[in-house]
């Protein structure tokens, strides 16, 4: 002990020098990312190779355990993942404005079943009566119109696709305003047919077709598709338009269900008027 103290006392200059340098290096490494990475890299080069080799060999002995662990973890993650759940509530957002009255409500939904290759195609959505879905609500996606809800269960709803023998949408040529019913001929899921356009209308390939404001189901000005070709059958005053649908029905995954709050009111009024006419 005495010797140690003596040694330290004798060499205090060198020891102080070493101490200060160590402090300096500590400061440098502490405050300077470049030097820090430099240190880490050089130490990796020295020891990394050996450690890598060791762990390469060691890993083999743990494979069985690791596999079990991974399988267990996979099962847990599958259980937790959102695909294992169904959402029971769909929040709707209703604006309260005294100058305007909300006419359309949008409810997001996911397509869980879909077909395009039959004459009458249906989609199934993961929203139902619990989330406020009712019959005759329109279904659209960000690309265009999809169809109309025809039946509802608690958590699911069935949608009559635009690709259905009975589907009829009131469509309009956007730039010009003349309108007519759009239907599906059943041959190709990418094309629909718009009829009853008066033959004085100047159509060009690529003109936009949107929903008309006259139908009560769809909100107006929702994209349907573009003009692919058009023809006038001889002796008829109407043009038949071949419409390229904007929605790729084979890829539909997320859609919106549109609730027209005033649909019932409009329908009942129109029905009453028609009855009066008949009488």
């Amino acid at each position: 002990m005495r010797n140690l103290v003596l040694f330290l006392w004798k060499n205090n200059f060198t020891l102080l020098f070493v101490g200060l340098e160590v402090l300096c290096f500590f400061l440098i490494v502490q405050n300077n990312t470049y030097h820090r990475t430099g240190f880490i890299n050089s130490s990796n080069k020295l020891s990394g190779g050996v450690l890598q080799m060791y762990s390469d060999v060691n890993d083999y002995f743990n494979l069985k355990y690791a596999n079990e662990q991974l399988a267990r973890e996979n099962a847990l993650l599958h259980t937790l993942s959102s695909s294992s759940f169904i959402t029971t509530s769909a929040r709707t957002y209703i604006a309260n404005d005294s100058l305007r009255k909300q006419k359309y409500e949008y409810i997001s939904a996911k397509v869980v079943n879909n077909s395009t290759n039959r004459r009458s195609n249906y989609l199934t959505l993961d929203r139902g009566s619990v989330q406020g879905i009712k019959r005759d609500m329109a279904v659209i996606s960000s690309e265009g119109i999809i169809g109309v809800v025809i039946s509802v269960s608690e958590n699911f709803s069935s949608v009559m696709s635009l690709l259905h023998k009975n589907s009829k949408v009131s469509a309009m040529i956007k730039k010009e305003g003349s309108y007519g019913p759009l239907s599906w001929e059943g041959d190709d899921y990418r094309y629909g047919t718009l009829s009853d356009i008066p033959n004085h209308v100047q159509l060009k390939v690529g003109d936009t077709i949107v929903t008309s404001p006259y139908g009560s189901t769809y909100p107006p000005n929702i994209l349907i598709g573009t003009v692919e070709s058009h023809e006038i059958k001889s002796g008829e005053p109407f043009i038949t338009v071949h419409v390229k649908l904007s929605v790729d029905f084979k890829k539909v995954s997320y859609v919106y269900i549109v609730n027209n709050v005033m649909k019932a009111e409009q329908d009942s009024l129109e029905n009453a008027t028609q009855k009066e006419k008949k009488e």
Partner: protein, 171 residues
């Protein structure tokens, strides 16, 4: 004694300020970064205890580091230089040793002694500093060139400043 301490404190402040306010802002090219503050460590009195020398050098270096944002680099180089100073002085010592009450400046020791002593110490300091800054061996020769050029400039500035100060005291 008090006079010496006071003079050294003034020298410390002047040199640090010169370094960080003037020389830091002068662009002399890619390879030339003179560090005139080392003059302070060179010109500390002969009688300064060696351990105190290290501590003073550390404080000086840290002060420079604060302005250069190079935490610890200048301190490390300065401490290294202070560690070498006694040996270098012993190597260049006159035949009958250093006179008491003198300082390692040109006025007492003559320009030849000062230039040779400073040259060795400055080169050691700059070597340490620049290689610590680069921190890799791949740029060895360009760093070497930088050390050489910067040391030359530092030495020139230190020597010039000695004449500047001593003329004023005499006049």
């Amino acid at each position: 004694m008090l006079n010496t301490v006071l003079r050294n404190i003034v020298r410390f402040i002047v040199l640090i300020l010169t370094q960080v306010l003037v020389i830091k802002n002068i662009e002399l090219g890619r390879f030339i970064n003179p560090f005139i503050y080392v003059l302070f460590i060179i010109t500390l009195p002969f009688e300064t205890p060696r351990s105190l020398l290290l501590l003073i050098a550390f404080v000086t270096g840290i002060s420079i580091d604060m302005f250069y944002d190079t935490m610890g680099m200048h301190a490390a180089a300065s401490v290294f230089m202070a560690f070498c100073r006694p040996r270098v002085f012993r190597f260049f010592a006159p035949r009958d040793g250093y006179e008491a009450g003198t300082e390692p400046i040109i006025r007492y020791m003559g320009s030849l002694w000062f230039v040779s002593c400073s040259a060795v110490l400055i080169v050691l300091h700059h070597f340490f500093l620049f290689y610590l800054e680069v921190f890799r061996w791949t740029e060895f020769f360009s760093t070497f060139f930088r050390v050489f050029m910067s040391a030359l400039f530092t030495l020139g500035l230190c020597t010039l400043s000695q004449y500047l100060v001593s003329r004023r005291t005499s006049g």
